[in-house]
């Protein structure tokens, strides 16, 4: 018996050796029910609790359910119930945690000594920063120190930086990378609606029957918003106006492949045609708007023929577009960087606003003139960065605004500058002219992202002191820093973001920051102490306390969210859209999940009417010519790359999902003309620089136009530094280049 058993055991062992069905490698991939509504998860990664927080990449503002073990994030998946993303996420969201775990994290303050950045104690770095900044301010005036902030930090931190910089340190000029993405939309809304107020809610994507997307590649830039369009049950007509046959254009029902920078002609011709046909909402125009007559007259020259000539779109197709809008019951207009990053972007955005107003497509489900925002907290930055405007949409130039803020913050009004900040490009000009001597760069990477990059990288060394506050030691800008302050990132701190549809979402602390890295919030607290203005920020003790201050600042403004009952209500509700004013009752406010603005036809201008604004379209500042025959377009390359890639390049998966090297999309016709094939090495040459790239021949590029994604650092050596006159937003989208083939 015993021998039989032994024999069986041996046989089993042999069998196991011959066919191993189990073992450590098999177990490595086993799954276990994850509980918390998760379904099965890898056994190695079973959470002991979960929590939902808003994603830290784009302004879609998806809810991500973070899987926690011992309080620490071990994995994540999209939050099923979150009203924004409904259980889905783009690759960046899925890989959000990977940006935190890299050897390139800044783990200690660094100070440049003898040309090299050396780790130092926080005390030394802060004392040094304080000493240099105050010294420069003493010699050159308070305004000689400036900051460049971001749309990537929570509102609480943005507000802290804004208050500390301006009220505590006496800095006059600060701006943020939101200038590069949303300034145009903000300016357009302010002029037209009286407040920077994107009117929509994402549900509008699902309720439209005509969706017009201008310069917006949702499939790549905002995949979750494209998801919302796909959920639209009304079989909407989807119109994409874009020179490129983008992924979105391919998926749309109608693509208007206008010549680069001619969208304004097209929109004006459509407006003119609608007016001509009388396809306008006259009662609404009369009740709720002003300036229509002047607008109507201004449109008269833009006939279908004129627009066809300019845009390259045949007359009948432009007519078809105006018919679509005329016949649509719920038409929504959406735009992104194709409009914003343009020398006449504000007017283009306002043309879309005008189309929505004149057809009465505003304030109703499935309508609106809607700007889709880029960065996770660009909307928070627009309200609370305290740079080009005073807190919560106020104006530094207005005494009553300054008084109100001084009162709310309990500070001396003398501490509040009486002018709005210079714009980003003017701060850069200030470095050249010597009026700006020190720069504090927080959570942004201008050495990659700024237009005409070579000029900026020539200018930065002129600064007497460059302080960079970042998560990483290796960003293009961090490498140039005199003082580097190591920052904690998304997931390592608390606060709130405001997404594209004005939804305030919550950030949570689910990872430990590496080494000595500190949340920007704590860094600002320390800088305040170091500058000797710590007392001013005694109330700013933690992010939620600052959130209450922001609520106070918002009270009575269009963005009033004083009715929110703390972070916990935001958490429970899956984010809360502004406005959400305090109704004064005992009970907690109960805002519905999806709300839009202007349902009553009243706007935020003094007259409560929306304004029609138009201006004659201008020609491209740098049109192609014989020497530079091609137009270079720029934009998002893939859904797995984010801006200057400081975060997305940390994820091996995201890296694998996008080309690692710079490439240029070129049409088949131009490729044939140049005698090159896909994969050829070429040089893209503009008046400012020459950049090597790999050619990618694609039917999506129009002859005469080439495209390079913005994620590759060298791209911005080529771009032409022109700016929208109103918003000061750089016109990244188009400049003249030529292509030289290096090897076919």
């Amino acid at each position: 018996m015993a021998t039989k058993l032994a024999f069986l055991q041996i046989a089993e062992k042999v069998q196991d050796l011959l066919v191993s069905r189990t073992g450590p490698l098999t177990r490595d991939l086993l799954q276990t029910p994850g509980k918390f509504g998760l379904g099965r998860v890898p056994t190695r990664l079973v959470p002991d609790s979960t929590t939902t927080m808003v994603c830290g990449y784009c302004a879609t503002g998806c809810g991500l359910m973070v899987h926690l073990k011992d309080g620490q994030a071990i994995n994540l998946s999209p939050a099923t119930e979150y009203p924004v993303n409904l259980g889905m996420a783009c690759p960046k969201g899925w890989e959000a945690l990977s940006a935190l775990h890299t050897a390139a994290r800044a783990t200690s303050p660094m100070l440049r000594k003898n040309g090299t950045l050396m780790p130092v104690a926080w005390e030394e770095a802060l004392h040094e920063m304080t000493r240099r900044f105050t010294d420069i301010q003493e010699r050159h005036g308070k305004a000689s120190v400036a900051w460049l902030g971001t749309g990537q930090m929570p509102s609480e931190e943005l507000a802290f930086l804004g208050a500390l910089g301006k009220f505590g340190m006496g800095i006059v000029h600060g701006d943020g990378n939101t200038r590069q993405c949303m300034a145009t939309a903000a300016s357009a809304y302010k002029e037209a609606f009286g407040f920077d107020a994107p009117p929509y809610t994402y549900a509008d994507f699902e309720q439209s029957d005509v969706i017009v997307l201008v310069g917006s590649n949702l499939c790549i830039a905002h995949p979750i918003l494209w998801e919302r369009i796909c959920r639209n049950p009304h079989h909407p007509a989807i119109v994409v106006i874009d020179p490129r046959a983008t992924e979105t254009a391919m998926a749309a029902t109608h693509h208007y492949s206008v010549r680069a920078k001619t969208d304004l002609w097209l929109l004006y011709a459509v407006a003119n045609e609608l007016i001509r046909q009388g396809a306008i909402d006259e009662p609404f125009i009369a009740e709720s708007t002003e300036g229509f007559e002047a607008f109507r007259d201004a449109m008269a020259p833009y006939t279908l023929e004129v627009a066809a000539e300019k845009t390259g779109i045949p007359v009948e197709r432009i007519l078809a577009l105006s018919n679509l809008i005329r016949n649509g019951k719920r038409v929504s207009f959406w735009w992104t960087m194709g409009v914003n990053q343009s020398y006449q972007g504000v007017r283009t955005a306002q043309a879309l606003i005008a189309l929505a107003l004149m057809t009465g497509n505003i304030g109703k489900p499935g309508t609106g003139a809607n700007s889709i925002t880029g960065q996770c907290n660009a909307m928070g930055s627009r309200l609370f960065s305290n740079t080009s405007g005073l807190f919560a949409g106020r104006d530094f130039g207005k005494t009553q605004d300054r008084e109100r803020v001084a009162e709310i913050l309990d500070i001396d009004i003398a501490n509040i500058p009486t002018e709005n900040s210079l714009a980003y490009d003017q701060i850069i000009d200030g470095i050249e002219s010597g009026t700006i001597r020190a720069l504090w760069v927080v959570a942004t990477n201008p050495a990659h992202s700024w237009i005409d990059q070579n000029r900026l990288t020539r200018l930065l060394p002129k600064l007497e002191c460059l302080v960079v506050q970042d998560m990483y030691v290796d960003t293009d800008t961090a490498l140039l820093a005199d003082i580097l302050l190591p920052a904690a990132g998304w997931g390592e701190k608390e606060g709130t973001f405001i997404n594209s549809e004005r939804r305030i979402g919550l950030l949570k602390k689910v990872c430990r920051a590496p080494g000595q890295a500190l949340a920007d919030f704590h860094i600002f607290q320390l800088v305040a102490e170091s500058f000797g203005c710590g007392e001013m920020f005694e109330r700013w003790s933690d992010p939620e306390a600052v959130f209450r201050i922001l609520q106070d600042l918002s009270r009575g403004t269009p963005c009033d969210f004083s009715g929110i009952n703390g972070y916990s209500q935001i958490d429970r509700k899956g984010g809360i859209q502004w406005p959400c004013p305090d109704t004064g009752g005992e009970r907690e406010t109960d805002p519905v999940a999806e709300r839009r603005l202007f349902e009553d036809g009243r706007f935020f201008t003094p007259s409560r009417r929306a304004r029609f604004i138009a201006e004659a379209p201008m020609e491209m500042p740098e049109p192609p010519n014989d020497e530079y025959p091609l137009i270079l377009l720029t934009g998002r390359g893939s859904s797995s790359q984010w801006h200057t890639q400081t975060r997305t390049k940390r994820s091996k998966v995201l890296q694998a999902l996008s080309p690692s090297e710079i490439y240029v999309e070129i049409s088949q016709l131009d490729a044939e003309g140049l005698g090159l094939k896909s994969g050829a090495e070429v040089e893209v040459i503009s008046r400012r620089s020459a950049v090597s790239a790999r050619a990618y021949v694609t039917p999506t590029a129009k002859p005469g136009e080439v495209f390079i994604p913005m994620h590759y650092a060298k791209m911005n050596q080529l771009t032409h530094p022109t700016f929208d006159a109103i918003s000061r937003q750089p016109s990244y989208k188009a400049c003249a280049v030529r292509i030289k083939v290096r090897s076919t």
Partner: protein, 596 residues
């Protein structure tokens, strides 16, 4: 100035002295010794110009706050058990209602119109399956039309196609693949795998992925654990546009479709394995669609251990055969016959050692012979394993008593001829199996004619140059055997030159060449490894010419001719090794459409 005056009056030692407890809060209650003062400017200057008395900063407290995680206490989800996953509301309709019937199986179905290339499926697969940092089982590629009107660019998501006739399963030497009899899901047994990566060459779609850290291959199993309990695979759960679903397909229909060539443009032909994934589109796909990376010039893995294994086994078999054919008859001069066999045995050993280095889990090398039924790799492993042993016995049988005596020596001696014949035959079978290992992958550039010429060509070139070198290095009784040299060198010259010319002809990239695969391979060689190509030909020519040139000059010193012989042999071996490096490195990959 007023501000400064006031400042000067401020005590510069105000930071409260550290309390005994060292408690942060206590120490930092008054963190700032310097206060803002009102002045004519907007802000008072808080610091004196010369001597700056710096405040004590509450760095330690901030660092401590930073390291305290708060999400769990404040917000984490308390309820633990949910019978149905939350996401089920979205994916329920994307799953089949019942298990497949006999003759059916599960399959992916992709709605191309809904796929816009966001690639969430790839990341979800990565996160929800707990894959290693750079491991991906799903990919999203791009196919595009060649003409601009109508321009069509289509993203294509793909993973394992759970083929009806899985090539991975057929090729796996250790039987680490199983096709589930009910669901048809092709599963990989991770603990059975020994990391030979042959499945990565067998699969036309690049589905199995080698994980170098673990030393094994892993792949998509359609989240079979999830499917078993009614949950959707990660990719299905994660697609924002519901482009991926699981369906039940008839295997027979799938086979018919595959044989008709029906799959998706830009992908390898479905005929060999019958992939079951269905790609659907309401808009018909233009006929000129192709993968954007279809003719992208890129290099593949070199598989260096395989380069050595192949080249050295071919050298060994060649040496054995050439010495047997052209050498002095063994009965008359055993010591002279002994040397080539000893050398062949030595190189065989080296080849087998090299092959083990190729494995992710070398200790399991013995498993290589477990799938003789369908795997050419198993057959190759067995053949060379047996060849090595026969070669050893043959070698022993050749040892004459005058050198060393041992038990059963005469019995061994008597088996000399059958042992030699057996060893030679097994060796040739081994090389044939080597050829078949690559032919079985179905890849154009590894087709039978090309691979045979390369492998058997190396056998002849290296066999002849080894035998010739040995003859020069160790002439029997001080005299080089004329017949051996003449025959060996003629064959080396004639065949070596022919092989080089044949290889050179493959470098033509013009459209006249019949095979697209050859064209692409030539482009890869010329654009990415031109130096290697040049060196290969230089060494090849040297290897062919050096040895015969020794014979032309009868009066050169023995040492010089021996040096020439060794140099010629090394050149020939180096040349063939480089040819083999390019065999792998310049081989166009077989995969689903990739990205730009």
């Amino acid at each position: 100035m007023q501000g400064r005056t006031q400042l000067a009056e401020l005590p510069n030692s105000t930071p409260s002295p550290p309390t005994n407890s060292g408690n942060f809060a206590a120490r930092t209650e008054k963190p700032s010794p310097l206060r803002l003062t009102e002045s004519k400017g907007r802000l008072a200057t808080p610091l004196a110009p010369k001597v700056r008395h710096l405040p004590i900063l509450s760095v330690a407290r901030r660092l401590e706050q930073q390291q305290t995680l708060t999400a769990v206490d404040a917000f984490s989800r308390s309820h633990e058990t949910d019978p149905v996953p939350d996401q089920a509301q979205y994916y329920r309709r994307l799953l089949p209602q019942a298990l497949p019937n006999p003759g059916q199986q599960y399959a992916f179905e992709v709605d191309l119109d809904r796929c816009t290339g966001c690639k969430a499926c790839v990341t979800a697969c990565h996160s929800l399956n707990g894959l290693d940092e750079s491991e991906m089982w799903r990919s999203v590629g791009l196919i595009q039309s060649k003409t601009a009107s109508p321009a069509r660019v289509q993203t294509v998501t793909s993973s394992c196609h759970h083929c009806v006739e899985p090539a991975c399963l057929k090729g796996c030497p250790v039987g680490a693949y199983e096709k589930d009899p009910v669901t048809g899901i092709v599963k990989h047994l991770d603990d059975q795998c020994f990391g030979c990566q042959y499945c990565t060459l067998m699969c036309p779609y690049d589905a199995p992925k080698f994980n170098a850290e673990l030393g094994i291959v892993r792949k998509c199993d359609m989240c079979s654990e999830r499917l078993a309990v009614g949950e959707a695979p990660a990719c299905v759960q994660a697609c924002p546009n519901e482009a991926i679903r699981i369906q039940v397909v008839d295997k027979k229909t799938a086979t018919e479709l595959a044989l008709a060539g029906n799959f998706i443009p830009g992908a390898p032909s479905p005929k060999a394995t019958t992939p079951t994934t269905t790609y659907r589109s309401r808009i018909s796909l233009p006929p000129d669609l192709d993968a954007v990376d279809g003719d992208l010039v890129r290099t593949e893995h070199t598989h260096l251990p395989l380069v050595f294994m192949l080249t050295l086994t071919q050298l060994s078999v060649g040496t054995l055969l050439i010495s047997a054919l052209f050498g002095r008859s063994s009965s008359t001069s055993q010591p002279a016959a002994l040397l080539p066999v000893a050398v062949a045995f030595g190189f065989t050993g080296a080849a087998l050692v090299a092959s083990v280095f190729h494995l992710g889990r070398p200790l399991l090398a013995w498993r290589a012979v477990l799938n003789l039924k369908t795997s050419w790799l198993s057959r190759e492993a067995l053949s060379f394993g047996v060849f090595a042993k026969l070669l050893l016995f043959y070698l022993v049988s050749l040892i004459p008593p005058e050198i060393v005596t041992f038990a059963y020596q005469s019995r061994f001696s008597s088996l000399q001829v059958p042992l030699g014949v057996l060893a030679g035959t097994t060796g040739v079978i081994g090389v044939f199996c080597s050829v078949m290992v690559y032919v079985a992958t179905g890849r154009g550039h590894w087709r039978a004619s090309c691979t045979s010429i390369k492998f058997f060509g190396s056998l002849i070139v290296l066999g002849t140059s080894t035998v010739a070198m040995l003859e020069i290095l160790s002439p029997s009784a001080g005299v080089v055997h004329e017949r051996t040299m003449a025959l060996t060198l003629s064959l080396l010259l004639a065949f070596g030159i022919w092989k080089l010319l044949w290889e050179a002809r493959r470098l033509r990239t013009g459209t006249s060449t019949d095979f697209a695969a050859d064209r692409l391979m030539a482009r890869i060689m010329l654009l990415r490894m031109l130096a290697l190509v040049k060196t290969r030909f230089a060494l090849g020519i040297l290897g062919i010419l050096l040895l015969p040139s020794v014979q032309l000059f009868a009066n050169i010193p023995a040492a010089a001719s021996q040096l020439c012989a060794v140099a010629g042999f090394i050149a020939a071996l180096g040349g063939e090794l480089m040819e083999r490096v390019m065999f792998f490195r310049a081989a166009p990959g077989s995969r689903m459409p990739g990205g730009v």
